[in-house]
Symmetry: C3
Subunit: 134 residues, 3 copies
């Protein structure tokens, strides 16, 4: 069973979309199984992280921006903008797909876990995520 | 088919639990398929790595600790302890879920591959892993 | 349904094998589902990245080689060669498995996404990938 989620982004940052995943799950008639999320882009990614305190999100963003800065003289792939090559590297260091088991039609996330789209580009984007239930 | 594994940790480090995964697999009546592991925490993670030589484990641990040190002045998320924000970053750089195919009721791991829980916090923890077979 | 792919490598770099995955998919009689790829080694890995411009591949390779250099005095696991411990670290920072949903017997990759084996060792290798369809 395949469904689709769109996450609209307004620049770099972590966008939680756990509720959209829960809504998809509520629409499929499977009691127990695995939910796999796949993002169809190479300049954003996904993570599962703490959703209790927004300072953790800020620190993740700032830490990754320091590790993979714009304007690095190493980059030759620059014609799509200063934020493009850092976006590809950040995408590679995080995840293009996630998987979360579910039971009794509820995602088995831990108490503090949320599902995030990580936008690595400055311009607004509409990000497509394919959701597979099995 | 969903099962659970608990890994008890005694501080930072890599804890192999391949045998616990094999035991789960032996308890389900599926000959061939996919085993997906999901860890329900944001301050530990999982990897598949070499289990032949423990120096590889030590180097992984030391390398990641140098890349993501405690006490970095960048961190603002500090109230849960000095090891908390580094733990979230390390978790993001590694994996919250793994998947291993199996056939004839045997995991199709390579000769030197083992499944590890990577504890990123100093205090002892009891880490919950959900195991999904399909 | 389990199949196998072999990717022959001739030193470090990104080797696209999207066509081999498509060929496997064409051989299985499943219309819609999830394709999971698992690499049976700890010194190479896999990523999904842009396949439109080869400079992106070069930059990824050079960036990761700078982050995880050979000859780092931190390494104690050195008897398998100077490129061995960096290979394990690079493997941990990227992915041992990938998953791509498919529908109407076509992979739901984004327009610019390709599937890559990332060889982290200098010597030629024959890399085994297990492909699971569900």
């Amino acid at each position: 069973m395949i469904k689709r989620i769109t996450v609209k982004t307004r620049g770099q940052g972590l966008y939680e979309f756990t509720d959209k995943v829960r809504k998809c799950l509520s629409e499929v008639n499977i009691n127990s199984g695995l939910c796999t999320l796949f993002v169809r882009h190479t300049s954003c990614s996904m993570i599962i992280q703490e959703n209790a305190d927004s300072t953790a999100k800020d620190d993740l963003e700032n830490w990754l921006n320091r590790l993979v800065p714009e304007g690095d003289s190493l980059y030759t792939h620059t014609f799509e903008g200063r934020d493009d090559m850092p976006a590809h590297i950040k995408s590679v260091l995080t995840a293009t797909h996630l998987a979360v088991p579910f039971d009794n039609q509820a995602l088995l996330l831990g108490t503090w876990q949320g599902v995030y789209l990580w936008e690595h580009r400055h311009a607004p984007h509409s990000r497509e995520i394919v959701v597979h239930f099995s």
